[in-house]
Amino acid sequence: MADVVLKNVSKSYDKKNLIVDNISLEIKDKEFVILVGPSGCGKTTTLRMIAGLEQITAGKLYINGKCVNDLPPKDRDIAMVFQNYALYPHMNVFENMAFGLKLRKYEKKEIERRVMEAAEILELKNYLYHKPKELSGGQRQRVAVGRAIVRQPQVFLFDEPLSNLDAKLRVQMRAELSKLHKKLGVTMIYVTHDQVEAMTMGDRIAVMHKGKIQQFDTPLNIYNKPSNKFTAGFIGSPSMNFVESKLLKKDNGYFIDFLGAEIKLPNKFQNEKLEKYINQKIIVGIRPEDFIEPNFQQFNNNPKIKGIIEITEQMGAESYYYFRCNDKMIVVRTRHLSLKISEKIEVTLNLEKIHLFDGITEESI
């Protein structure tokens, strides 16, 4: 088993634009790390560099303490599961899984033992002599995983492996992959653009944007303490509400101008860190789920915002209401299901849950 370390790694195809821009990551042994970010953020390129399918333009990559920059993929002791599975269409399930072992000249008995073992884990025993075209999406996905398992590599790499599956199967496979990680106890690096996958599966998440790592932390830390506006907006659904504001200082503490109302910041923000932002533009963020349900009386003294509902999204157990307040679209997530478009809505801010960001750098304050 192995740890994976990226030190100041960059990738450029044309020597001008950096697809991956000077990233550093330390992935511990047996850790399940998720690289998440929007399309084109460089997450797949990073994974492909770890796999050895892309040359590293600058920086160093270490697997198990050994620099592998110039090692071909077959010598890195990694296995990869591709987005489109990449199963060999002319080979059956057994041959697909055994191919890597055959190339490495394993004995026939050993190949058979390992394939049967993987087939047992992945419940593929009844399909060993089926061709990939005769399998369902979920079964193909399992064969792709099986092909990785049989090699018993140091590191597993997954490139958006669930994106071709339907929603129900995706949830099921998500749980199965997490179970597999625990069972095998290996290092896994998983690329996805789906924040739900990232939050539910990973030990740690690396949020990427424009070729850079925005934050590398546990899922809950990323959710509760986003390091910048991008991470705050990317993780969580619907996205966090952002309102441009101004920080004011008065005798009894710091205040923010929030959609026309002057609101005193709670005690946790009352410190010297805010000193340099006085009278400066800042960004206030609040998650849709961090507004207080109207019937919690004890928060009646908290500031409120109101508007007319423009869009409603009924999710069954909860609803998302989009309304405009001071020309700014705000979304609220609530268990109140009865409100309709054009109705008035008034919500209370949970000031303990607000986030403040630098108005220029967008870094968390």
């Binding site: 071909p72 077959k74 591709f82 489109n84 990449a86 199963l87 191919f99 190339l103």
Partner: protein
């Protein structure tokens, strides 16, 4: 089942189409029929070229008996025909083998590798396909002569082991195969040669069938190259041998046609074997799935 409504025009179009296709079929098949029918006649039946054309009499008197096959036996045993047949098989098999190996290797590089001048090389290969063999025959002759290969079967094999059409065909087919399969194989530990041998080659079976049949057809029928590049009777191939088929009594149509029928048979059988692959190969290469 709902039948679509068809108007008079539809049927008229159909009738005209069938007339056109039947005419085309007759034009195509007549020479073959004449060849086969003539091959079963006796030398006495044919006084001149006019007797070759099939008439009602021909069909009336036509019957296959053990005696009628004697033309074939005589043609086979006569002179060097067996040798020509053997030479043609050797040349064709080796040219097919060469094309299978080298065309696919060049196509793999052009489809999968990035290198300087790749597009230009592909353009040259395409341009080469437009140059007829008649234009190339003199430089090829000089080259073969300088290599001391004149009047050998190698002279017929070597210039044909890589062909533009084969490279083009295989490259187009490989382009349609997802690159992630190669990458999966690379991760599995495969080398370039192993990717070609174990992944792309088996997937490209339809294109390979087209490559085999096309190479076989063009090589089986070569005429100009052996005419220029060989001299001795022992080095002749079928195409040349048939053209020069003469008996001591002048042009022997009966035996010549029997020999031609024997010559056509292997390629006809090959075509029938690969027929299904060829159709799917031609369409699959054109449309990416």
């Amino acid at each position: 089942m709902i039948e679509p409504i068809k108007n008079k025009n539809f049927y008229l179009q159909r009738i005209l189409l069938y007339i056109f296709l039947t005419t085309l079929l007759i034009i195509t098949i007549t020479p073959f029929l004449i060849m086969v029918i003539t091959s079963f006649k006796t030398t006495d039946n044919i006084a001149g070229l006019r007797d070759i054309l099939p008439s009602i009499e021909t069909f009336k008197n036509f019957k296959i008996s053990r005696e009628t096959f004697k033309n074939y036996i005589e043609a086979w045993n006569d002179g060097m025909f067996g040798k020509y047949f053997y030479n043609t098989i050797i040349v064709t098999l080796l040219v097919i083998l060469g094309n299978l190996i080298f065309d696919t290797m060049v196509a793999y590089a052009l489809s999968r590798k990035e290198f300087y001048g790749k597009k230009l090389i592909f353009l040259f290969i395409l341009a080469r396909m437009m140059i007829p063999v008649q234009v190339l025959i003199i430089p090829v002759f000089i080259l073969i002569k300088q290599l001391n290969l004149y009047d050998t079967l190698t002279a017929l094999i070597l210039p044909n082991v890589v062909q533009g059409f084969g490279i083009f065909l295989m490259k187009q087919y490989f382009d349609g195969i997802p690159k992630s399969l190669d990458e999966a194989a690379i991760i599995d530990g495969a080398s370039d040669f192993q990717i070609l041998r174990y992944i792309l080659f088996p997937i490209a079976k339809p294109a390979i069938a087209v490559l085999i049949i096309n190479t076989a057809l063009s090589t089986w029928n070569i005429f100009l190259m052996p005419l220029i590049l060989t001299q001795s009777v022992e080095k002749r191939v079928l195409g040349l041998g048939l053209a020069l088929y003469k008996s001591q009594y002048g042009v022997d149509y009966v035996h010549s046609m029997a020999a031609s029928t024997i010559a056509v048979l292997p390629i006809l059988i090959l075509f029938l074997c690969f027929q299904n692959y060829i159709v799917s190969g031609l369409t699959k290469g054109a449309v990416k799935t």
